[in-house]
């Protein structure tokens, strides 16, 4: 098993702290504007001094197929590039009581870089980051919490806005749908941007596309109450939107989009799904391949990877609290894949333009407030 390695970890840890490599500082850190899809960070294995890394999930667990999973993937990607020392530790929380001991365990195991996944870990991270200035920290879905903490926040609704516009242009029934796991900001930001994107389409085109599942005014909508895709409730939530005639649906939260895919397939309707986080065509099982119209990319994995790599290359990004968005490439829209031929060129161009406009700030719309911790 992976047990006899704790000695290696500590060794590696002591090695690196003893000999901090300060040569290759700037390069990797400044390269933050690439689109999250394109993984091009690796120059050469030799450039990194591998750092002992520890990953602490929030109570959703590492296999949530959402931000915890993405973050852990980022750690493993960094492992592949040699930025992370062998056998990074992952500590799964089952409740809020686990956060602190897990972080303490990370420190006790000699972690040099600790990734805390999710806004729920913010306070714990802040406290321990202050007490352990030598350790580098990355927190997902929260702003920076100190000089040694990289905050990864995402203005996801920028991508969702464009996706909403796209969906409004693509729907055949004039109705598009969206639902989430539970009404928490990291989820509802997608729903909000999506609904506003549809509204923008209606405004621009004088169309009357209806969104079901999100009420912009009430900031509330359709939720499954669970992130467990196997709960019959999830599929039923999707079906209830299909029943109303929605044909393009954006489900937000782990894998709760999969049952929706099966529902669309079972009903034999010309429907589509919009994925979230990582390009669904690559991340999700093959049987759903044709369903993904696009994915609203939220580059957690890549940002985590970069943050660790920056550390490993001696240029920690700590203290940065910049929000990932379209402009800096942490947010994006995935290729249309199977839908490439079906999306009219004109619409594709409009969406492209919207992405640019948002990035440049020329579209006027009310953005979702991120973090606000």
């Amino acid at each position: 098993g992976g047990d006899s390695d704790d000695t290696t970890t500590t060794e590696a840890a002591s090695e690196t702290t003893e000999a901090p490599d300060e040569t290759t500082t700037t390069e990797a850190a400044s390269e933050t504007t690439e689109a999250p899809g394109e993984t091009t960070t690796t120059e050469a294995m030799g450039e990194f001094t591998a750092v002992a890394t520890c990953f602490v999930t929030d109570d959703a667990g590492v296999d949530d197929r959402s931000f915890n999973a993405s973050g852990w993937k980022g750690v493993n990607d960094a492992l592949a590039t040699g930025a992370v020392a062998a056998d990074p530790i992952v500590l799964e929380s089952t409740s809020a009581a686990d956060y602190q001991p897990h972080v303490e365990t990370c420190l006790a195991q000699g972690a040099e870089h600790i990734v805390t996944s999710g806004f729920k870990l913010a306070d714990t991270t802040a406290q321990f980051a202050a007490d352990n200035p030598d350790v580098q920290w990355t927190i997902i879905d929260f702003g920076s919490l100190g000089d040694n903490v990289t905050g990864l926040e995402y203005q996801t609704d920028e991508g969702a806005f464009a996706a909403g516009y796209l969906a409004a242009g693509m729907t055949q029934t004039g109705i598009v749908g969206t639902y989430g796991g539970v009404n928490i900001p990291t989820v509802s930001i997608f729903l909000d941007g999506y609904a506003r994107g549809v509204a923008h389409y209606n405004e621009v085109k004088g169309a009357d596309v209806r969104v079901i599942g999100w009420d912009v005014e009430a900031q509330d909508g359709a939720f499954t109450g669970t992130f467990d895709p196997a709960d019959p409730q999830v599929r039923a939530t999707c079906e209830s939107q299909l029943d109303e005639g929605a044909d393009i649906i954006l489900p937000v939260g782990g894998a709760i989009n999969l049952p929706c895919g099966t529902a669309i397939q079972d009903r034999g309707i010309e429907g589509a799904l919009i994925g979230v986080d990582a390009d669904a065509v690559e991340a999700m099982p093959g049987e759903y391949m044709d369903l993904w119209l696009t994915t609203i990319l939220k580059g957690i994995d890549i940002q985590v990877q970069r943050s660790i790599e920056a550390h490993a290359s001696g240029a920690p990004t700590g203290g940065s609290s910049s929000v990932g968005n379209l402009e800096n490439g942490a947010i994006g829209l995935a290729p249309y894949h199977a839908w490439e031929d079906r999306v009219p060129a004109e619409l594709a161009a409009e969406v492209e333009q919207i992405l640019v406009d948002i990035a440049e700030g020329t579209i006027d719309w009310e953005k979702f407030v991120v973090g606000a911790g």
Partner: protein, 402 residues
């Protein structure tokens, strides 16, 4: 229940229970009180070891090429896992602190379930009562400004009221309409969970301008003071839990109310005959039970650094509490010991997860096995060839009888 309520030994002419019995409070003889649980623990560890080995995928993949090394890896895996489990629970001040910290709400919630069992009620609703109690405490924490020595008691009082009302509601429904508490408490768990999720997004709890469902930070005056210094989490909640153990012990065996609780639990017919108000008692028991859960909830809001309340603070404590109460045979002292055992397992399990890569879920399996072996002494005897004690298995709970 075969446990005899202990009429105070000094009040009865005959030589009372032994010292060991008074300390452990679990059985007729010290031998039985300690031997059986120890053997059960050993057996659970053995089965756990087998499970670790069977699920060691890497080792199994190695099996084809180098069986010797594979088997070696497996044993090594078990050794490291258990070493870390123990070290995480007792190996350092931090470990002990974590064990005690984890045990605190478990003991309180375990008492809640146990007092229900003593009165013939099955409270599956500790989770919901923790939610409501914890939320009430949080409200007081955020909206009242007082010095610590008043603020903390007031917040805990609010937890008692909140948890008590939520538990008492199930009791009242049972007393007035016959709705079975197993159903109502489960449903009230879900309702409370969603209520807290909603409440934490209201301005009464949330930070100004935030949209994250968590409370603003609790003021220092209401944070439960730690015992071994701020770097260790164990706090005065532990004393509250231990105090609750003694209080419930007193309540059950030395007070008229406890006499009534136990009478209703063992024989509703005789309680009615004896002039007790069964409906009021059922409501009251559920109130007390809910209040205990509520206090457990408050230790998870007022006592959990970084002192900011999020929507899942009860975790799985409410369900662990059922196992705990059963393991402690619904006796306050039994709950205390079982709570410490579970606290050690969970705290050690965190370290085990980190150092040995064995998922904390193993702890759940071990909990199940310990309960099973203690509930079926014959199984343990068969394995260890201990002589027959002659006693039948305990019937701790009553069925569905209204």
């Amino acid at each position: 229940m075969s446990d005899q309520p202990d009429v105070p030994p000094d009040d009865v002419g005959d030589p009372g229970p032994s010292l060991m019995q008074r300390i452990t409070g679990v059985g007729e003889s010290a031998r039985r009180a300690l031997l059986l649980p120890s053997l059960a623990l050993v057996l659970a560890l053995l089965v756990g070891a087998v499970i670790i080995m069977l699920t060691d995928v890497d080792a199994w993949q190695l099996m084809g090429t180098d069986a010797g090394a594979a088997i070696g890896d497996m044993f090594e895996g078990v050794w490291v896992a258990y070493r870390e489990l123990f070290a995480g629970a007792f190996g350092s001040v931090r470990g002990i602190s974590e064990t005690l910290f984890t045990a605190t709400p478990l003991i309180l919630a375990g008492l809640a379930v146990a007092i229900g069992f003593q009165a013939g009620l099955f409270n599956i609703g500790a989770t919901g009562q923790m939610f409501v109690g914890g939320l009430f405490a949080t409200w007081i924490a955020l909206h009242v400004t007082l010095p610590s020595y008043l603020h903390i008691p007031l917040a805990i009082l609010a937890a008692i009221v909140g948890g008590g009302l939520w538990g008492g509601l199930a009791g009242l429904l049972k007393a007035k309409t016959g709705a079975h508490e197993v159903i109502t408490t489960i449903m009230l768990n879900f309702i409370a969970g969603f209520f807290v999720l909603w409440a934490l997004k209201t301005s009464a709890f949330q930070d100004e301008g935030s949209n994250i469902p968590q409370s603003s930070p609790l003021p220092e005056s209401v944070q439960l003071p730690t015992i071994f210094g701020d770097e260790f989490r164990v706090n005065i909640g532990l004393f509250i839990a231990i105090g609750a153990v003694f209080f419930i012990q007193w309540l059950l065996y030395r007070s008229t109310t406890g006499f009534e609780f136990r009478a209703v639990g063992s024989s509703p017919g005789a309680s009615l005959y004896a002039g007790m108000n069964v409906a009021v008692l059922i409501t009251l028991v559920m109130f007390v039970s809910g209040a205990l859960s509520g206090v457990a909830g408050s230790t998870m809001t007022l006592g959990l650094p970084p002192y900011r309340v999020s929507e899942s603070f009860p975790g799985t404590i409410g369900f662990d509490a059922i196992a705990l109460a059963l393991l402690g045979r619904s006796h306050p002292y039994g709950v205390l010991w079982s709570g410490l055992l579970f606290g050690a397992l969970i705290a050690g399990g965190r370290t085990m997860q980190a150092a040995a890569g064995v998922s904390v879920d193993l702890v759940i399996v071990m909990q199940a096995l310990i309960i099973m072996f203690i509930a079926a002494p014959e199984l343990v005897r068969a394995v260890f060839r201990v002589e027959h004690g002659g006693e039948a298995a305990d019937q701790v709970t009553r069925g569905w009888g209204a």
